[in-house]
Symmetry: C2
Subunit: 84 residues, 2 copies
């Protein structure tokens, strides 16, 4: 994995991506490894899925988890504000 | 969009997915529409990307946002526990 400030070249599910972002290269590499792992896990459990469908399912799972965490976060904020 | 308890048939970036989950069909449909929208936005800004790469980029963006929210959440928990 090649890296420089705010940029990293990573491999995700067999394809190379040069990613740029506000995060440091370590974070970009960590996030990429996380998605690579998620996709490989989905692929193992669904042998006939195309790479696109595997990536879409990974994105769907993450979106669900994001919404759940967002709800927990909001509840915590409401608790702090004494609304509950 | 077809729906029944914990299951929904949706279209994401031109492909049909039958999704099952613990969430109600409305939530599944909402999450699917969210990913569809994200992918279409990425595609508009990167005309030559393959559907797989578009889906992977959508997943990467979501993972970054998830990690950011998780950090905020942890900070809030620490604040509540008087650790800060």
């Amino acid at each position: 994995m090649e890296k420089q400030k705010g940029k990293a070249t990573v491999e995700i599910f067999g394809e190379t991506y040069t990613l740029r972002g506000d995060d440091d290269p370590e974070t970009i590499i960590r996030v990429a490894a996380f998605i690579d792992d998620r996709m490989k896990r989905i692929a193992r459990n669904n042998l006939r899925l195309s790479p696109t469908r595997i990536a879409v399912l990974a994105a769907l799972n993450l979106a669900e988890e994001y919404l759940r965490l967002e709800k927990d976060y909001q509840e915590l904020v409401e608790m702090i504000n004494g609304e509950k």
